[in-house]
Symmetry: C2
Subunit: 239 residues, 2 copies
């Protein structure tokens, strides 16, 4: 083994200053979690299923199938596949009716612009269906070429790792050199399962301690706070 | 000092099987936190003050005055006393418009009935104004004689201890023998400042770790979960 006398001669394939960022969407880039929560509450009530709002909040961001299965267990009520499908449709309609209330989170647009301008690869990975994601994404400017992976493109949504694995693959980047940025414990569990580093944001309503326990290396308030501390991820932006 | 050879001869004034329970209202007995959050969001937007929803959520349950002061600091926007008053009125109106969506939390009514039937003294202490509390309380059956302490009856709301001190006094019980039951860190800080024991519930949307850190001796899911574990507070109900 040769002593490291020539530190500049590292492998040309490793660009540790350009890790990929894989973003969750709702609660991470958009202030949309509470609209999703209220839309689910409405859908469930219309089907005669009462569920406290905080319990719905804690499931947001996970796969709709898992969400409904957990709900069946907690309420002790049986749910046919057709009923589950109908609830998903009602939720999507209810969310779409509220889209005019939804805003990008502070700093979201500036953060994405900075990453693009600095050549840092990034992608979006959401448990939402293609249709719901499209409604949400209309509030952000996503440059052509940025991968957007939705529930329809993988077998399992979060907390399975599939969405983030697909996002890294679409970027042509190793998942192990990628950061997953999310607001929910489901994002962070999926990040751990994928072998990516997890970054939490508080903007979806989870507490700092929960996100840290779920594996977040750092927790920021929101995209603006992450933007102001982007150096803590070892990302060198030229701004 | 005499050795304690006669354990049954304790002071007749101490009834350790009947500690008082002092309940917060929103998020603790009523599933109303998200309606308050959305009503504040709407009021603030109408005044041209954008604020992420999670930041509003984290202030619910604290005094409206402190809430607005914190908000001014965070948004860097100045707010006159008249504007603050107008925002409070808008929030109250917005909440009242949503009252038909608000439900008692699971177990809330059964818990209160059991306490009354068992002779356990209890009271309600809320940072809401008299008017807003009245709207909320219409959803619960509060027997005559149960003290309801609102923001209008004390100098400072939570996280100051005044509301809980007044509630214990109205019951004629020492605050040190009282449990404070609340969903927010403001309740638990007020409990600590008052010298009462704090019990957290998750039904307002805060995480377990936060409530424990803020001083909760135990954390339950909601009133139903507390009801099922009431023996853990040393309360002997005769049911």
């Amino acid at each position: 083994m040769r002593p490291a006398t020539r530190p500049h001669e590292s492998s040309p394939d490793v660009h540790t200053d350009r890790p990929a960022l894989l973003f969750d969407l709702d609660g991470t880039l958009l202030d949309s979690v509470y609209q999703h929560v209220i839309a689910w509450k409405e859908a469930l009530e219309s089907a005669g299923i009462p569920l406290s709002i905080w319990r719905i909040h804690r499931r947001i961001g996970m796969s709709g199938g898992l969400f409904l299965r957990a709900l069946v267990r907690e309420t002790g009520r049986d749910l046919s596949a057709a009923e589950a499908d109908r609830l998903r449709v009602l939720h999507e309609e209810g969310y779409r009716r509220r889209i005019s209330e939804v805003r990008p989170l502070p700093g979201a647009e500036a953060l994405l612009e900075l990453l693009s301008a600095s050549g840092v690869p990034w992608a979006i990975a959401t448990s939402s269906s293609e249709a719901t994601a499209k409604t949400s994404l209309s509030l952000l400017e996503i440059p052509p070429g940025v991968p957007v992976i939705t529930r329809d493109q993988v077998q399992y949504a979060k907390p399975n790792p599939d969405l983030f694995l697909a996002a890294a693959e679409a970027l042509g980047r190793p998942i192990g050199e990628s950061f997953v940025v999310g607001d929910s414990v489901w994002d962070l569990l999926a990040a751990q399962r994928a072998g990516a580093l997890g970054i939490g944001v508080l903007s979806g309503g989870y507490g700092r301690e929960e996100l840290e326990t779920a594996g977040a290396y750092r927790v920021y308030d929101d995209p603006q706070d992450l933007l102001e501390h982007i150096d803590e991820l070892g990302i060198r932006t030229h701004s």
